[in-house]
Symmetry: C2
Subunit: 214 residues, 2 copies
DNA sequence: TAGATTGTTAATCGATTAACAATC
DNA sequence: TAGATTGTTAATCGATTAACAATC
């Protein structure tokens, strides 16, 4: 598993492989060839083999891939063999939605704290956490060995809070705020820009409609 | 604005351009060169010019780009000059979060209905809508000229409901369920796979940590 | 052993970057 | 007009696909 320089394109495909392999596992299918998987997933068999071989050989010539083994290896590559401790900053609808999504917990993502600047929310119980004021962030983060901060706050606040959290030692951010965070380069940010996604949808809608006219 | 075969890579960058141009507008900046924009956005000036020229010339030699004009043109390309009527299927935390996010409304996305299969939620007021039972979908969709269905329901339900909605004539789906919907090819699906995103984050965290060890 | 399918190299395709002529 | 910067062509780089030898 020596990841020299794996391209973003490959990495982006890994979770999708994992999802399909999970479904195969659930169906008690033991082996699969790149050909079969390619038909299922609508990609080329060549790409599948290339992708996997970025991380070493997971298959067996003449046989294919063992579903369980491949699943576990990809999970490992994605870091899902470790547990991660998260805090949610912003206890609005979106923060609560993420907190309550049980599938994350099953994958080893432990939500350990939730914070908001709105004092009306202080003490509100969300799943098994109580909303805490932002002033508690520093103490909490340092005490609880937090890996990931989930930012579900408006963009202005996100910039400010991210800067603070970086100084408290939080290295990874799942950012839902509609802005590009400026952080030192050993810090990881994964953006979920929902409005960008919605605009891609309307782009395609618009293009489809104008095609019909022609 | 003749979009022959614009690559996905280009389209994916458009919303980000729009965001930066919006900020420039807000700062009352009237003109910008591809060079200046490239520094701001951390991409090459060449890419910016290539991207824009996919849709025709928006700039002026020797001068640069007029921020307002460029902003409007990109908004148009993305289909933001039209209003879109959406329904939300799934009135859980995530559905509610999206319904309440005001910025969508400002962009011309009108949430006109919200549905759930849980009868305890029927009639619950979310923003200015009342949660309706799934049985109302067909009637509502046909009456209200719905462009986009937002699917914030579990994957099993999503597959079933999407199939129904397709038959009712809904052409575009913003899918938050953790599954790839199988739909006819004139139907548009934009996926938001949150767990994929979170896994990309843990991949990078893991890689960063193991790099440090070496 | 023969058949199947991987792992891997080579060929192709597409996207990004560089360069520069056109022109405001 | 001279300077600046686009629009666009050409060069480079990287990712995907095809092909096939290795091997289970």
């Amino acid at each position: 598993m020596d990841d020299k320089n794996i391209s973003q394109a490959v990495i982006s495909r890994l979770p999708r492989y994992l999802r399909y392999l999970g479904e195969l596992k659930d169906s008690n299918i033991e082996r699969i060839s790149s050909q079969e998987l390619s038909e299922l997933m609508n990609v080329t068999a060549s790409q599948i083999r290339q992708d996997f071989n970025n991380f070493g050989g997971f298959g067996q010539q003449g046989y294919g891939y063992k579903v369980n083994y491949l699943y576990d290896e990809i999970a490992k590559i994605l870091g899902l063999n470790k547990t991660h401790h998260l805090i949610i900053v912003g206890a609005g609808n979106l923060g609560q939605a993420l907190a309550n999504y049980m599938n994350f917990e099953r994958r080893g993502f432990h939500f350990t704290g939730i914070f908001d600047s709105n004092e009306k929310l202080y003490g509100k119980k969300i799943r098994d956490m109580y909303v805490q004021p932002m002033e508690e962030l520093e103490h909490f983060v340092k005490e609880n060995d937090i890996d990931i901060a989930v930012l579900t706050i408006p963009k202005g606040a996100a910039v400010k809070i991210a800067e603070q959290l970086v100084s408290y030692g939080v290295k990874a951010y799942w950012n839902f705020a509609h802005i590009d965070l400026k952080v030192p380069k050993d810090i990881v940010v994964e953006n979920v820009h929902l409005s960008d996604s919605l605009m891609r949808l309307t782009y395609t809608i618009t293009r489809n409609e104008s095609e019909k006219e022609n």
